[in-house]
Symmetry: C3
Subunit: 214 residues, 3 copies
């Protein structure tokens, strides 16, 4: 039941940064609509941790988004930070995009690995990873009454998340079969994260979209 990427303090640190940033993206969308501080905090918290809440509810375990003090306080601190510093945050477009992509990729890998550890099948685990990676943004856009970004955004967003989840399923299966050790698993997981972040950023940078209906 160990999630490989959470055994290393360094990578756990990156995940807290990702949650902080993800909450910032969420809080910023509430700031832009002119909502008050409670709305900013709710949106920040649910954007960062709502995807994991959906995953945990489906897996039948207590959602970490309401039970892990460190995660909750990180998300709320991020909401307060964006309420105070939003003009600065607004300027960091590419930094935000990068951190948001990092959060998406880490959530996809960790969400999938958590589900595999709880005994889910490969397909179910991949779906759980996608809910973790994409669910928070979906809740955020529902809260502020917009079409969710995974529906609206024509750049690659769902695609890198799906690739990361499916790849993680294979890594977990290799681990269960004893084909790789913990170091190998961490290395492969990081490669998956890097791949997903690169796909997302290149797609935005070079305006590569997903085709629509014919």
């Amino acid at each position: 039941m160990t999630v490989a990427l959470e055994t290393s303090g360094f990578i756990l640190g990156i995940e807290y940064v990702a949650i902080f940033c993800c909450a910032m993206v969420g809080g910023l969308s509430a700031v832009r609509k002119g909502y008050d501080i409670t709305a900013i905090l709710i949106t920040a918290w649910l954007t960062a941790l709502g995807g994991g809440i959906i995953r945990d509810v489906m897996l039948g375990v207590t959602p970490v988004g309401v039970s892990d003090k460190g995660l909750v306080l990180t998300a709320l601190a991020s909401g307060i930070a964006v309420a105070l510093l939003h003009p600065e945050v607004d300027k960091l477009k590419w930094s935000m995009l990068t951190l948001d992509a990092l959060a998406m990729a880490l959530f996809a890998v960790n969400g999938t690995a958590k589900a595999m550890g709880l005994g889910a099948s490969g397909m179910t685990a991949a779906f759980m990873g996608m809910f973790t990676a994409l669910g928070g943004g979906l809740i955020r856009d529902t809260l502020i009454n917009e079409v969710p970004m995974i529906i609206r955004d024509r750049h690659w967003y769902f695609v890198p998340a799906a690739v990361a989840c499916v790849a993680t399923v294979f890594v977990c299966k290799a681990d269960f079969a004893g084909l790789i050790n913990l170091q190998g698993e961490i290395g492969l997981d990081l490669a998956i994260v890097a791949l997903a972040v690169a796909m997302r950023l290149l797609s935005v940078r070079f305006n590569i979209g997903v085709p629509g209906a014919v």
Copy 2:
């Protein structure tokens, strides 16, 4: 725990057709809004299987919408089909309406029967049936940011679903009490499906609405 209508290969086949069609209705709504292929696939999948996901989460079992390969692949195949063939699908208004009504009725009967089989009370099972039948459409309309059809549509949609769910509760109770055998249960279930489909289609054909507030 056996759902009567799923013991027969013939009726199981009808259910796959219903899921295919339900996903088509969902995918079509994303096509019409001009969204890309990932949005079409997500909408198709959640329209067809989202209601069952809500039911299974409430019943505390692993959602078949993320764990049953056959169901998931059927929904995704339907999303791809509608992305390729939507001008043809658009012409099939009455066929689509009929298949959508069939999906609603089958989901209501099977959702209720599944909950009864898991030991839910009659009222809880009826609600589970309604979530199965109506939840997918609700998620679809939330995703594309429209008022859900069960709220918006003045024709009978909720009413036939509710009738089918309540009738299925009585059929299941008769089965548990040993009053009817499997053949009898299948027969009664099919009669309920036919009744619900007829109510839905007649309501649209003759523009019969539900009264509003006085």
Copy 3:
């Protein structure tokens, strides 16, 4: 696992009144949009009981909103009442606001106490109380495709609910530690309810808002 405020028949009566009123607020919002009677019933039911459904799903128990006949019938009766009497209900602005605040406060206290009784940690229980108090309104506004009131309303709504939930956690902990008896717990719970209602009403009366982003 006993929820203190539900041991007394008198307070249980108040809770039914609160649910009736909460459903009325929900039904009224569907009436105002011109939706039909099934939409009014669905909105009334989910506004009154949807928050508790979210809480129970997260806690992994059968949602009372689909299994408790008394609660469900109260919510549906309220929906029918508002469909028949909405011009009268519309005139009761302050009565409605008071009963809605009462419902929010009772839901916050009882939702938190229920989660504590099921062994949740203090923080998790406080979140469960907030989901109970605020989830119904969130579902209602999603159904009718508006920005949820907790996001939109600049008066205190989230704040009194949060205060009530956190205070209830301390009361429950004092009870578990044997510091207070049942009478003491009921007294403190009622004081919390009164405080939350007062905060909400004073905030609306004197137009006290929550600050936005700087």
